[in-house]
């Protein structure tokens, strides 16, 4: 039984959309972001409302081909398509983009050229070794972002609002970690699909409201429930960004197995670490975002593999599903390495958001699960 059914999810999203429309009418600024390296705490502290733009489906990707070539990243194409089709995207007053990959780095031009949306491109060093010059460069970028947001909102910067935002974000991350732990149980109490939906909601709702909701959900999970099937394969999901509307793979997998862990940026990597505020807040933010469990696009990305191995061990994972978007070099290139490093069977899936191969995918997943028995 789902702890948050689709009807409830949809009504929460709609409510929030209407609320955002109202807030915008009152002069509040809505700032969209795509990537988990975007420091939402600064957006909040600047008096804007952060909203993660992680919806993408086949229709929007096709719509995006008006602006980009067919062989561009499906997520980037779909993001542009969403600016044509999706009222939430049309609501944003500005977008923060992080240069996680080549395609993302070039998205701002496509956005400003075709939609006249103000964009701030935050440069995160692609190298992951923590050298002072890189950290300083990144921190200076955060200050530039603060200034850009100030220009957008017209509000005076208040340091205490930043501390408050960091504290709220940390509480939210801790609560999501708690929820995620229920996935690690034997059998898991929530499904991978549910967790991804809840994370998506956490990037839309205000933190306080989301915390209340998470408390309610955790209370439900603490109650005794009917025994679930213990004998399903325990899997880890890894790979490219998984959009809110791209649930096909998860649905097919979870018909017969459990996704008990993931390393996806719209999943557990969104909340798996917390900000330490033992130093000046901006320094703490810079260090936190620079050093997060890396996206595969960082160099070297060994810490990502370490995180995967740690998750595999802690959650008794038996197999890995790796989902890469077409042309997503960062993740596609690393699959062979993943096989070697982790030593577990890996199902490698790539694609755009098309549904035409749904049954083929089902066959591949079933064959993979049979192999794990």
């Amino acid at each position: 039984m789902a702890i948050l059914d689709s009807a409830r999810l949809e009504s929460l999203r709609l409510e929030r959309f209407e609320e955002l429309t109202g807030l915008k009418a009152q002069g509040k600024k809505v700032v969209g972001y795509f990537c988990l390296y975007a420091p939402v705490e600064i957006v909040q502290a600047a008096g804007a409302i952060p909203v993660r733009l992680a919806r993408a489906d086949y229709g929007s990707a096709l719509a995006g081909e008006r602006f980009l070539r067919a062989d561009a990243c499906p997520f980037c194409k779909a993001s542009l398509g969403k600016f044509v089709q999706d009222p939430l995207y049309q609501l944003v007053d500005g977008v923060v983009i992080v240069n996680t990959c080549d395609m993302m780095r070039r998205l701002p031009e496509a956005l400003t050229t075709n939609f006249s949306v103000p964009v701030f491109l935050l440069y995160l060093p692609r190298t992951s070794e923590l050298f002072p010059n890189r950290l300083q460069g990144f921190q200076a970028g955060l200050s530039d972002l603060k200034a850009w947001l100030g220009g957008l909102t017209g509000q005076e910067w208040q340091e205490e609002r930043l501390l408050e935002a960091i504290d709220e974000a940390n509480q939210l991350r801790r609560k999501l970690q708690e929820l995620d732990q229920t996935r690690a149980e034997m059998p898991p109490k929530i499904s991978g699909g549910e967790l991804f939906d809840i994370v998506a909601l956490a990037t839309l709702l205000p933190p306080k409201r989301m915390l209340n909701l998470l408390n309610d959900l955790l209370a439900v999970l603490r109650k005794p429930a009917e025994a679930m099937n213990k004998n399903r394969a325990r899997l880890l999901l890894t790979g490219s960004i998984l959009s809110e509307e791209d649930r096909t793979l998860i649905e097919i997998v979870e018909e017969k197995a459990d996704i008990v862990a993931d390393t996806v940026c719209t999943g557990s990597r969104w909340f798996n670490e917390e900000i330490t505020v033992a130093e000046e807040p901006f320094a703490g933010l810079a260090r936190f975002y620079f050093s997060r469990t890396p996206c595969a696009c960082r160099r070297p990305n060994t810490a990502l593999f370490e995180y995967i191995k740690q998750q595999v061990a802690a959650r008794k994972v038996q197999g890995i599903v790796s989902k890469s978007l077409l042309y997503c070099d960062a993740y596609r290139f690393e699959v062979k390495q993943l096989r070697q490093e982790v030593g577990l069977p890996v199902l490698e899936v790539d694609g755009d958001y098309s549904q035409v191969n749904r049954q083929q995918l089902r066959t591949r997943v079933e064959a993979f699960l049979e192999m794990l028995r």
Partner: protein, 470 residues
Amino acid sequence: MSWFDYQDPTPARITFDEWDDLFQQIPDELIDQFHYFPPNQEAWSKYLFPPQVFAIYGARHLRRLKFDNSLAALRLWGFVQNEIERLFRARQVGKKVVAVMGDLGPLAVIVNSVAARAGSSKDGGGCVAFYPDCWWWTPFAMESKVLLDKAAELGIGDATCFSRAALGAFAKHSYFPDPDLVIAATGASCDDYSGVESLVAKMVPEVVWVETPLRRVEPEARERVERMVVEEYQRVLKKLEELTGVKVTEAMLQQGIRRANHLRRLTQRLKELAYGYGVFPALETMVVEFGCLHGYSDIVEWTAIVEHLVQTGEARLAAGKTVLALDSLRIGWVTPPADPLLLCYVEDRGARIVASEYVINQALSLIDESVPPLLGIARSLLTGSLIGTSRERAEMFVTAAQGRRAEGVIVSGILGGSHCAMESRLIGDYIKQKLDIPILEFDVAPPNKAIDRQTQTRIDAFLELVRSRR
């Protein structure tokens, strides 16, 4: 006999077979004069051979190209084709072989500045920088997918830029010696190649990672970015010192910069001669542009070759002799490197290239000699084609194309090339808007023995359109 005394035939583009015939007429004593790693004059370091030799050794693509018929051009081809031998020889004579990856230009200036150790032989010591990036044309030159197949085996398959050939070359351990050091730049550059670097890092003992930040134009931010790059380069220097046991002095770096600038100035002049006056074909001009990356692993001899080419071009200009008719259609080309076969094809159909943007601006811009060396090199990196916006890249090209009165522009990309997918349309639209001339956009096909019919037809139609607008 000096090459000054040699009389080139009337300038022309000639075939592979004609080149072989022409080679027979070059006196032996002249052939004996050209050696790599000068000033050595050892027999093993000759490189002036007819194209036939390289075709037999695997560069089969040469048979389908057309070449400039000057002695300087033959030197160019002999030298470029000889690079693999030269790299293995570098190891034998005591040089450290350093693979620099992903920044296309600036890192090689630093590496090549490291002088020979005191007491080493005149041929030995010091460092040789090479770009495995450049092995991306090997499948084309060899008409073989061996390196691409190897890359696919290692996890980088068809939906990726041909630069994946470099991964295959690393894995095969036979295209260049296993480097003494790998320095890999990543950041605001090319993702496909960053992926190659990531997998190479798992094959070699150590990689020195260098951040390539985004270009910023606001003064304060620009200075910040420059400082950041300088510190990246300081780490590189430290590694090079550990590797060679040589303390890298400011004087060494200044000398390296002067050498690089001399080559870049020569290259600028050669482009002017070729694009402005038609005295050289596009193919040799492109090879010269790419020579600014690392001098094909021997910057001293490469510079001598480019000097020879420039002198040849000046003489042709003075004599009013051109290789390409001045009334040819004037075409600009924006691309990762253009396929040599395509360059020849366009010229065969009455066009000539008058402006180019091959994503290596950072290897062509002059390094500021009035500032501390690492800052000068950092600034040259920050002129890079790929590290700013597509608009900036297009603007650079538009200025060049306007200056040469380009009548049409070809924007060629690579299917699966991460920046091509995002940039091609933006660049094409901007050029169209600014220049109001026909644009042809297509992807370069995988290595093949011929240009596919579809591409031929599209180029033909494009050139007809350009001609009809005269």
